[in-house]
Symmetry: D3
Subunit: 140 residues, 6 copies
Amino acid sequence: MTDKAATAETRQDRFERGMKVLTEIDGPAGQRVIDSLADISPELGHQVVAWGFGDIYQRPGLAPRDRQLVTLGMLTALGGCEPQLEVHINAALNVGLAPEEIIEALLHSAVYCGMPKAVNATFAAKRVFAERGLLPVKTR
Amino acid sequence: MTDKAATAETRQDRFERGMKVLTEIDGPAGQRVIDSLADISPELGHQVVAWGFGDIYQRPGLAPRDRQLVTLGMLTALGGCEPQLEVHINAALNVGLAPEEIIEALLHSAVYCGMPKAVNATFAAKRVFAERGLLPVKTR
Amino acid sequence: MTDKAATAETRQDRFERGMKVLTEIDGPAGQRVIDSLADISPELGHQVVAWGFGDIYQRPGLAPRDRQLVTLGMLTALGGCEPQLEVHINAALNVGLAPEEIIEALLHSAVYCGMPKAVNATFAAKRVFAERGLLPVKTR
Amino acid sequence: MTDKAATAETRQDRFERGMKVLTEIDGPAGQRVIDSLADISPELGHQVVAWGFGDIYQRPGLAPRDRQLVTLGMLTALGGCEPQLEVHINAALNVGLAPEEIIEALLHSAVYCGMPKAVNATFAAKRVFAERGLLPVKTR
Amino acid sequence: MTDKAATAETRQDRFERGMKVLTEIDGPAGQRVIDSLADISPELGHQVVAWGFGDIYQRPGLAPRDRQLVTLGMLTALGGCEPQLEVHINAALNVGLAPEEIIEALLHSAVYCGMPKAVNATFAAKRVFAERGLLPVKTR
Amino acid sequence: MTDKAATAETRQDRFERGMKVLTEIDGPAGQRVIDSLADISPELGHQVVAWGFGDIYQRPGLAPRDRQLVTLGMLTALGGCEPQLEVHINAALNVGLAPEEIIEALLHSAVYCGMPKAVNATFAAKRVFAERGLLPVKTR
């Protein structure tokens, strides 16, 4: 990272770097969140993109697929983040997690977060999978 | 407070004292919550008013504007309190916080509560600001 | 429990044991949750029934009525579990808690969880009570 | 409650009413919390006693034993409230819950709050039971 | 799973099946938790092993390494679960996650859970890594 | 912000900008957290400084004192963040909040977060105030 550390970037450079990552991972769902923030908190939209995606997501230390696994765990545990779960379940599919792996991860969450949060997250997955024609899921 | 401490009050006195504070701060939004509780838990409505507003809010040790700032932070962090956030974002505007300050406080919350809760709270602000004709917000 | 511990059960046996408890306590509301999980995570539905109800709920150490009281406290505190609160407020009524006791328990939650979560849970009770013709509640 | 509602009380009256309830339920553990607050936030100590115990706990709509059951559920679900769990596990024993019922309630919490919070709460119970010579607990 | 579903198991069979998984993943740290529960809630210890590990962890749908990633995300987001984080950071190392990947996952959590929870989880990792002679971590 | 947006900065520039803000606000307590992260997650330390302080805290839209008020509310509500509360209660004193205002804000939190979290946060304040010779606090 020495080279990158030495590179001077403008605010706009960082935003563009993040936008590229966001588009790869989240597709239009991420873009819609940024657009919805435009008239109320453009700076929050900027930070989601420039910091969340440009600074953190793009780091090479953890594969995009693994980042989504951790993220699904966090959003399930936090509670009340169903809209974000839908975005990230879409993202998880985009970066190569199988539908069965996502459902298994949410089943696994019952052990740590309890049944209600596991059920809420699983219903968020159902909405996303329905939209993408992935129902019924074949689990064992 | 010595004098007040010595003053004997009925349950109704305390309620009326709280109702005066509630009306000043929240306007009709607070009243609607109390009304909705009337047929299911009038005592909870009473305690919100008599204790929350009559005993705590009216204390002189922290300005109403400052109480709203702390409250916005708490409701954002708790999660799942979007209806209460709408009431208190309205209240925050009523007691003198600028729309830009509210949005900045919610941006600030991203550092402590993470992006999903900051985004959820900002969308609650968007609904309130839309209703009051305050969009788009001019932030830097 | 020595006898039970020695009894070999199949996965299906455990499910059926749980289903019996679930039906007694939750009635059709519990069944609907299991049905909704069928095409997305049948295993989560299985575990809610076989483990949650078959292994835990049916244990003799705590009366069904007491289990619902603890559960109402937990769901209120967790936040964002309004659908589960509705199921369990129904269940609480089914196992013998009076409407007034449920409302009192949710009022009590204000001391420990704060007013917003107490209000959210009370509105979940209002939806259930309305459906069952139990409004207005007569509290003191 | 009409009569009580009509009774004028001073701040001190309400505190004394609450203190009587606190002492009955929590014994010295509750008193220690109030004492620890004396030099930092005597008003918070006052409100815990006058409001939490004087206004809410003493209400007749839910038996003290039942209030402790709900409270154990809430404190387990909130997380990070181990000191309060210890106070209330003591209180639960004082108002007639059997050690086995408390442990069963915390086992039950695993279904709703997940294993980590159930384990944390159970270790809080272990500390209290150890102090009161109640180990080992005979559960089935 | 048809075959397994048809196999009748005793309570003890399920426990032994789980114990095998627990030992493979968590090593002595998991065993210590079960031992500590023996005199206060042996049933909770049984359920952690027989259900958590025997029923859920051993399922083939998600690799052990992936289960730990999801789990680290959940425990970080829940908050107040530092003892469990230490057990599972140990487990994560045992099933093949590199120290750098664990640290990167916890950095990633800052985006979703906020800085305080990310810092708390990172300090839990520091305690585990120190014990295992893994400090300093070489991140980019 | 047009000018700043156009300014190209290196990673190091952003860190230094944040470090200046961190030192002004938190003094040595903030520095200690960064130091403790050096051998386990230097990148997390970098992001706390460069992003949290350099990008967010330094923004002119909300006064430093107001940022601390919101932050105290968030940390109290999150729970399990007592170390961060101590850092930020120190910071709150550094940027001009009176001890009485801090205590009043934490009393206020009882209404929204419940008594246990309010008490936990107040005891964090007690530790900080004791260290700075600010006990007893004179509240009304």
